[in-house]
Amino acid sequence: MDKPLRLTDAGLLSAPLPACPGFSMDERPIAALWQVAAFKGCGDSLTAKLAGLNDGNTPAPGGSLASKDFCLLWAGPDQWWLTSEAVSQEALAERFAALIDPEEATMLDLSHARCCLRLTGERRFDILNKSCFVDFLHFRPGDVIMTQVEQLAVTLLAVDEDTTDLYVTTSFAQALVDYFDHGCAEYR
């Protein structure tokens, strides 16, 4: 049986996703999403270990680092997300499990708990700002923000100048898509 990586493939999200001139939305497949969280007092040690995988770098608070086949996102104090579209949850876990000392940190599978919506086009911030109070003037590629859109907790990743990835909990994904559909209607 095929294992869907996208909610649209699983029938959990209506397609086509909303679009209008200057804006389009696409769902990115989540092959893996691990939440790595250090216990109190263990943050520095975990940071150092994660840096070992990234030429000595870990994302600063509010940042992210993309490597060849995975992305490391800051997800709160002493907490990161490891995401990948290419490497499976199990394979990514294998690579990192050796790093994670259970006395220092936990790894949690959230690959089915989140949906990743890719927002493209210069109009995306206009639509986001209909319910999101973030100042996107200062949202640079690589930045990560945990905020609210339409009263929902979301994580935003600035992929590049024209692209933003939005992570939302699976159960609210359709509500958020409905919100974007309504939000871009006036621009169609």
Binding site: M1, L108, L110, Q174, D178, E186
Partner: protein, 992 residues
């Protein structure tokens, strides 16, 4: 004669004629007109009736200060009332109606109120109460019907309203000359700028006041358009300034009263967060207070000039303009140059030679030392005015067909005031200006008391530059623009608030037109002891209404000061509060109406439920399948069928909504142990345990299950309703109470889909779906779990039961939920599987006596629910000390009982009170409540309504009969107290 359109002039587009209707009469105007200018151009003087006396009223201003010309626009769904005609841009097909008149605007019988106005002074309704409160009840109906403005639209409003959050370095409120200069200076320096203006185009008076200023405005507008760092919002009013420089703005997008294009918002609420705010909000002209100053054809001097210059409409042919300041000379000149015969009465006995020359050049009949005392006017406009010297000793009549007046200008410091900024009186301006400020906002231009165009421009430029530089923007901004004015305007003024009483004519002299508050009302309020401006406002309503006293406040306060022999600065002014001008309520709600009120949370199997005919019920934000309809069934038939099928065969229910929390860490076991009141330390890996969680006060907080996945890893479930609260409770205790524990918790509700398989055939069915597994009591005992695969998809199989039947829960990563559901549905066909919803689920758990939301209401202890023996004696846990309080262990506390109708058939409902006597209704017949019904449902096992409830000493009263009383439903049903376990008390089914 009434107003008329000039052959040429104005900023209107004469090539685009527009048709509109007013009170059913067809009229025409041009693109660029406002409704007010178009009505004046069509000779309409009478535009409304006053609030209390129903006096005839015409347009008084030309902007948002308008107190009189309030209209209702549109029909049906689009109908909107209380719109200021001066702020409505004319559009083709506009349909306007006058308000507060019966049977018509022209013949308003309610104007009879004017004849008894002596009995209806300010605060007359308070005085009615002095006699007998009952007396008020008689006239109240008529008073309320006779007074007021327009009616709100009672139809559902289906318009779209949008919200928008905007950030910028500098927000400029107001797009006149000073605002444009501020925006340009800030943007050229490198700051991001938003400039808002309430009108359809920027420029303010700079569009028409003089040619040099117009050159600057045009150049500025071109630059604004070309600069991507500047966002321009027209028809947008900054109506409130809140903490941390959050400025609330309302943008009118759809024409009021007109149908909207598909997906076009009616209005947009902007939440502006600016680092610096520049108030370029201009100033508002004050009228002089004289007899009959409220009649149609009487208006502000600036408005008269504005109608001529901006819209090419002259308000009359013989215009009398009364003033006390220099500014009116420009307007008198404009009116004279447009062809009117203008008489300018200046209350001052001497003015500068330049002003005299200006009047002479424009052929204005200038009369110094004189003012207007009264207008001779009906609803068709003035025919004459009584004029005279300020000493009031002599007067004469002068013919005129329009009257304009100016008592000076009041800077618009409303936004400054919203932030707590103070107002300071300036004698030289006879006006309040912005004083000490509390936030990063500065006034420029006329709002700062700088009424000359060059001064306004310079102040805007300077503050725009300063704001940008203060924020670290230092790009070269070039030289400050300068106006090449032939002569700088002067702004001298003499104090004059109320003109002397007339000798020939009679009439009320109004201060607040919208509220019918007159000069005599102010005097009376003072006489009666309302000596503070705030008291004056409340007593006379001066300064209230849609115009919020824009033209009346300062006059009212000055008259109060005069009456008390004090300076205006001593008397002060009332505090301006948001909104600056009316904001449609729809804009506050935005798009969050109806189904969009809150986001909908869906389980992975939502679409499958809908396809199977499910009806949904809101459970928090979740939409849960409540029951599944089949052809020919009503709701109750469906629910009974589903419940019965669980008791007799096997049912499947979506339980994905249960909260699920991942708990990991070296101290996870200790944490879980402290979290629940029952013992958890001995829970082995691979087993599940029911857990009860208490609040600090000892009351039950939530219940659920805990599965131990590994030594340091637990998988918790909570109720649907308390999922978020339980997680917050856990995080609080880890962060604040026990920061030493090495534990991480996280919500995994969305990670896992869940489905309950319940019924005597559930094992058979699952065995068929999972042929390689041993699902016997030995292989998977009650309260055990295992991780396995179903058709290659990972699942977690837990043997737990909520219904009291042999039951399992299948959890799977959420994207696989629909596939797993469908596989089980397929396999289950051979075993009589049916889906069941939350209604059947509720009925089943009540039969079993399992507690849920109705019982976990925050008022019950474990012992109250018959779970007292679960509470650990030897460990510490959250709520232990609270639970030890004497009151929580008393014998007479309400205890959980089962309830059945004594006659075996009567229906009763949750929420009923349990009493010994039949009646609990009626005053004087209140019977003591012994308890309450917490949950009730029809039982398929018993064939009648059964319930759970709490009764004093209930656990020792089985067999007794009480009444379940619900007076609101008219129900008083005798019920028998029984064990809460109304089926299978020994638990043989679930252990089977």
């Amino acid at each position: 004669m009434p107003g008329f359109r000039l052959e040429q002039g104005g900023l209107i587009d004469r090539s685009t004629p527009l048709n509109f209707r007013f009170d059913g009469k067809s009229m025409s105007g041009f693109a660029g007109d406002t409704l007010a200018s178009a009505l004046l151009a069509n000779g309409v003087q009478l535009m409304g009736r006053s609030f209390k006396y129903h006096r005839p009223r015409g347009v008084y201003g030309s902007g948002s200060e308008e107190p009189n010309a309030l209209m209702t626009l549109g029909r049906g769904q689009e109908e909107e009332s209380n719109l200021r005609a001066t702020m409505v841009d004319l559009y083709d097909g506009l349909d306007a109606r006058s308000q507060n008149a019966w049977p018509s605007l022209n013949l308003d019988l309610l104007s009879a109120n004017s004849m008894i106005s002596a009995f209806l002074p300010a605060g007359f309704y308070y005085k009615i109460f002095l006699g007998s409160a009952n007396f008020w009840l008689l006239p109240e109906y008529f008073i309320r019907r006779a007074a007021g403005l327009g009616y709100p639209n009672a139809l559902d409003n289906e318009d779209d309203f949008q919200h928008h959050y905007q950030h910028c370095d500098v927000l400029v409120a107001g797009g006149g000359t000073s605002g444009l200069a501020a925006a340009l200076a800030a943007a050229r320096s490198g700051a991001s700028v938003v400039i808002v203006d309430e009108h359809a185009r920027l420029g303010g008076q700079g569009l028409w006041r003089n040619a040099e200023e117009r050159v600057f405005v045009d150049a500025a507008l071109s630059e604004l358009e070309a600069n991507p760092k500047i966002k321009v919002l027209t028809r947008t009013t900054a109506w409130g300034h809140y903490d941390d420089n959050m400025v609330a703005c309302i943008q009118i997008e759809g024409d009021p009263g007109a149908p909207l294009a598909p997906h076009q918002p009616r209005a947009r609420a902007w939440h502006m967060r600016a680092q610096r705010v520049i108030y370029a909000t201009g100033a508002i002209e004050r009228p002089l207070v004289f007899a009959n100053n409220d009649r149609p054809g009487v208006m502000l001097a600036h408005a008269a000039g504005s109608f001529a210059s901006k819209f090419g409409v002259l308000i009359g042919k013989r215009i009398l303009l009364a003033t006390n300041n220099d500014d009116s000379y420009a307007h008198a000149s404009i009116l004279a140059q447009a062809g009117a015969e203008v008489t300018l009465l200046d209350a001052r006995s001497a003015v500068s030679a330049a002003l005299t020359a200006q009047a002479k050049a424009a052929q204005v009949d200038l009369r110094l030392g004189q003012t207007v005392l009264a207008a001779k006017a009906g609803k068709a406009g003035p025919s004459a005015a009584e004029i005279g010297a300020l000493d009031g000793k002599s007067s004469s009549l002068i013919d005129c067909d329009a009257i304009a007046s100016s008592g000076g200008w009041s800077p618009s410091i409303h936004l400054h005031s919203h932030t707590g900024g103070k107002a300071e009186w300036r004698d030289d301006l006879q006006a309040f200006v912005a004083g000490k400020r509390l936030q990063e906002g500065v006034t420029v231009g006329a709002a700062a008391g700088l009424f000359g165009a060059q001064d306004a421009l310079a102040s805007g430029w300077q503050q725009g530059l300063a704001a940008a530089q203060d924020l670290g923007h230092h790009q070269a901004s070039g030289e400050a623009p300068r106006l090449e004015l032939a002569e700088a305007p002067t702004t001298t003024i003499m104090p004059l608030w109320s003109c002397p009483k007339p000798k020939i004519l009679k009439g009320k002299a109004f201060v607040d037109f919208q509220n019918d508050a007159s000069a005599s009302d102010v005097a009376m309020a003072n006489q009666e002891g309302y000596r503070s401006v705030e008291h004056l406002k409340r007593y006379t309503t001066l300064g209230m209404g849609t115009d919020q006293g824009k033209t009346s406040n300062i006059n009212g306060h000055a008259l109060l000061a005069e009456a008390q022999g004090r300076a205006i600065a001593e008397v002060g002014t009332t505090t301006f509060r948001p909104p600056y001008s009316p904001v449609t309520l729809g804009a506050f709600g935005g798009p969050h109406t109806g189904m969009a009120f809150a986001p909908i949370r869906r389980t992975p199997m939502q679409a499958l439920h809908a396809a199977a005919g499910a009806s949904f019920v809101e459970a928090g934000l979740w939409y849960r399948a409540e029951w599944y309809s089949r052809p020919g069934e009503d709701m109750w038939a469906s629910i009974k069928r589903e419940a019965l099928n669980v008791r007799q065969a096997v049912g499947m229910c979506d339980v994905s909504t249960l909260g699920k929390i991942d708990v990991q860490g070296p101290d996870a076991q200790e944490f879980i142990q402290r979290l629940y009141c029952n013992g958890m330390k001995t829970l082995p890996v691979g087993k599940v345990r029911y857990g009860l969680m208490l609040r600090d006060d000892g009351m039950v907080f939530d219940d659920g299950t805990v599965a131990r996945l590994a030594d340091q890893h637990y998988y918790m479930t909570t109720t649907t309703a308390k999922a978020a609260a339980v997680l917050a409770h856990m995080e609080y205790h880890l962060d604040v109470v026990w920061p030493d524990l090495k534990v991480r918790v996280a919500s995994i509700t969305d990670q896992w889909a869940g489905m309950s398989i319940a019924g005597p055939r559930s094992r058979e069915m699952l065995q068929a779906a999972l042929p390689g597994l041993d699902l016997s009591n030995e292989g998977l005992p009650f309260m055990g779990f295992l991780d396995t695969e179903l058709n290659g998809l990972p699942i977690r199989l837990l043997r737990i039961s909520f219904s009291g039947e042999l039951a399992y829960e299948v959890h799977t990563p959420s994207r696989f939920g629909p596939q797993v559901w469908q596989v089980l549905e397929q396999v289950g066909q051979d075993f009589g599987l049916m889906a069941y919803g939350t209604e059947a689920l509720g009925a089943l758990r009540i039969e079993k006596g399992h507690v849920a939301g109705g019982e976990l209401d925050g008022r019950t202890t474990p012992a109250d629910m018959g779970l007292g023996k679960m509470v650990a004696k030897k460990k510490d846990f959250i709520g232990r000390l609270g639970l030890m309080r004497e009151g929580l262990s008393r014998d007479d506390r309400p205890r959980l009982v089962g309830l059945m109708p004594a006659d075996g058939r009567s229906k009763f409902v949750a929420g009923s009170q349990l009493t010994e006597a039949k009646s609990v209704g009626g005053f004087g017949q209140i019977t003591k409540s012994l308890g309450w019904v917490s949950s009730a449902h029809f039982s398929v096992e018993h064939g009648c309504t059964i319930a759970l409830g709490f009764v004093e000493n209930g656990d020792r009263r089985h067999g007794e009969t009480l009444y379940a009383a619900s007076p609101l439903d008219g129900l008083h049903v005798p019920v028998t107290l029984v064990s809460p376990h109304m089926i299978d008390p020994q638990g043989e089914r679930q252990h089977g």
